[in-house]
């Protein structure tokens, strides 16, 4: 009779460099193979939804910066869209274009981080990540010109944006849009056809379209499975119905597809920015609203396609100056629900990469 063997339960995190923050995975291993995964989170819980109930509609904008801290612009956009629906506020045309330009820049910045950290987890330590950070730095400099901050932007307000872009913003944006395709090509030269990357990511962590839809996965994770679903096309907010762009999709939904979709989305974002710069009209950037917005009693749901997926804010108003309830549908959190299906059966080394390719941000998971 053979000796009895037992599975071993290991805690991965919360202070593990490849868990993207303070996130704990209780993994049950049979030797090298993952049997079961139990995500444990809440280490970064700050009670954003509850805090929002005690702040006015404008003050909540500052809280949304801190949800997904690598894409604050799209968080702002999702929130102000919900408020505008709730209170029936009109947005000037120029503000809509500025919103789209800034959120597409943010999408590029966020995808650069996702790609950089994926490489970091593959073992290409620091150098490719710094390539990504170098390009992101230029985008953050543009944000500094727009709104005086790089990460916690607080740029958008119900009824428009905070202030118009300065004169030196437009030449700098042009320069970036011209230089960015070369950067992306350089990044692709490092990764896309690299044999090590291919061996580690191709056919690893396959997510089927059916499973992704059942778990309401959104964003690049869903599109990598071959489902063409993008809120910018499905529910064109701001000016997305006036610009041309494609929705890149993957073939089978493995880790490599998730990476490839992100890189192609960066190119599409540049296309959108180029068209917006051409189309942008002159005029107001903010409609006149009361500082203490008092929306009528009711509720509204505003959602945008954030770099991670569908980010939505559900606001309930009781007629007061603060939301009665603020529910955040964060894509990172909901994309985590397929984690067990993704990881079970793979090896320890694959676990890190598959988890890295889901691109979660803990500020958004725990809220």
């Amino acid at each position: 009779m053979a000796i009895r063997t037992e599975p071993v339960t290991v805690n991965l995190g919360p202070q593990h460099p490849s868990t993207h923050g303070v996130f704990r995975l209780r993994v049950t291993f049979d030797g090298e193979v993952v049997l079961d995964v139990e995500p444990v989170f809440g280490y970064l819980h700050r009670g954003t939804e509850k805090l929002a109930e005690e702040r006015t509609y404008v003050q909540v904008v500052t809280l949304t910066d801190r949800l997904d801290y690598v894409s604050a612009m799209t968080n702002n956009l999702a929130y102000v869209r919900a408020v505008e629906k709730l209170a029936g506020i009109e947005v000037p045309e120029r503000a809509k274009y500025l919103r789209v330009i800034s959120s597409e820049l943010q999408r590029i910045a966020s995808h650069l981080i996702a790609t950089g950290f994926l490489l970091q987890e593959l073992g290409a330590f620091a150098t490719p990540l710094m390539y990504c950070f170098r390009e992101r730095e230029r985008i953050l400099e543009l944000f500094e010109m727009l709104c005086g901050a790089r990460i916690t932007v607080s740029y958008m307000r119900p009824g428009g944006v905070l202030q118009d872009a300065p004169e030196d913003f437009w030449p700098a944006l042009d320069e970036l849009v011209k230089a960015m395709p070369q950067y992306i090509e350089e990044l692709e030269g490092l990764i896309t056809s690299n044999e090590i990357v291919l061996a580690r990511t191709k056919d690893v962590g396959v997510l089927t379209a059916e499973k992704a839809i059942n778990a309401s996965v959104t964003g690049p994770m869903l599109r990598a499975t071959g489902v063409q679903w993008d809120l910018r096309k499905a529910d064109p907010h701001e000016v997305y119905d006036r610009v041309e762009f494609d929705v890149p999709i993957g073939a089978i939904g493995d880790t490599y597809d998730r990476y490839l979709v992100r890189v192609q989305e960066m190119r599409q974002s540049l296309r959108i920015i180029e068209q917006c710069v051409k189309q942008i009209p002159k005029g107001d950037i903010r409609s006149r609203t009361a500082y203490f917005i008092r929306p009528p009693v009711g509720d509204a749901y505003g959602a945008v396609e954030s770099p991670k997926g569908e980010l939505g804010f559900y606001l309930v108003s009781d007629g007061g100056i603060a939301p009665y309830r603020c529910k955040i549908r964060s894509p990172s959190f909901i994309n985590l629900t397929v984690l067990r299906d993704l990881l079970a059966g793979w090896k320890m080394a694959d676990l890190i990469i598959i988890f890295g390719s889901t691109d979660i941000v803990l500020g958004e998971v725990d809220r």
């Binding site: 702040r55 404008v58 003050q59 904008v61 500052t62 809280l63 910066d65 150098t127 390539y131 170098r134 730095e137 400099e141 500094e144 010109m145 727009l146 709104c147 005086g148 901050a149 916690t152 607080s154 905070l162 202030q163 300065p166 350089e186 030269g189 490092l190 990764i191 896309t192 056809s193 690299n194 044999e195 090590i196 990357v197 291919l198 500082y291």
Partner: protein, 223 residues
């Protein structure tokens, strides 16, 4: 061909390795200086400088001399030391009301002075606890008289939390180098940068001229 992708990747790395202008490291808080630059700073020629201070010149040549480096920063940057104009402030406490964290404390008392043809309050306390501030700038946005402006610094480090409270005395005495964030009237000024030497006076910091008594009466009569 197997290995072609890897060669392509290595080529990218090699390209970045040899191109000097591809370096993107920002030297902070100190950067190395050459003897030429040092001479320029002291306003003499290179050879004169080398003859006069041979030790410093030698150190600079061997890369041991550093000077504090200032980061490139847009004038709109929302910095930490707030700029406040006593002459413009009426003590309305809009900033304190609009602060999402409630970290501004204002205590006023009637002063009897006439500012903007109305009663001005004397500000006994105007404390901003920047230890808890998140620099969202809502207070600056809310100020109806353009009295409060953002600063441009980011290097305030203290050992005690109470040292991080910006008091009214400090606000009064510190140089007036406001950020141009949400202040288009300052941004419109030619070549203004908060890092420069030039102060912005309280007249320049305002969005509008001081209204006269007649103007105000007309405005209120129309309402």
């Amino acid at each position: 061909m197997y290995g072609a992708g890897m060669a392509k990747g290595l080529l990218v790395t090699m390209k970045n390795f040899v191109k000097p202008d591809r370096m993107f490291t920002v030297q902070y808080p100190d950067r190395k200086v050459s003897p030429t630059e040092l001479a320029k700073m002291s306003g003499v020629g290179v050879f004169t400088f080398m003859r006069k201070n041979p030790k410093t010149a030698f150190k600079a040549m061997t890369g041991q001399m550093t000077v504090p480096a200032r980061l490139k920063q847009h004038p709109r940057f929302r910095g930490e030391e707030f700029t406040w104009y006593e002459q413009r402030c009426t003590g309305c406490a809009s900033c304190a009301k609009y602060c999402p964290l409630g970290i501004i404390r204002i205590v006023t008392s009637p002063s009897g002075e006439q500012v903007q043809e109305g009663q001005k309050y004397h500000l006994d306390v105007f404390d901003i606890d920047i230890g808890r501030c998140m620099f969202c700038g809502l207070c600056v946005e809310a100020c109806p008289y353009d009295a409060l402006h953002m600063g441009s610094g980011f290097e305030e480090g203290k050992y005690r939390r109470k040292d991080l409270v910006v008091t009214v005395d400090r606000l009064k005495s510190q140089p007036k180098h406001p950020s141009t964030w949400f202040r288009p009237q300052i941004q419109g000024k030619e070549g203004y940068h908060p890092h420069g030497e030039k102060d912005v006076t309280w007249q320049e910091a305002g969005r509008h001229e001081q209204p006269s008594r007649k103007h105000q009466e007309e405005k209120w009569a129309k309402r």
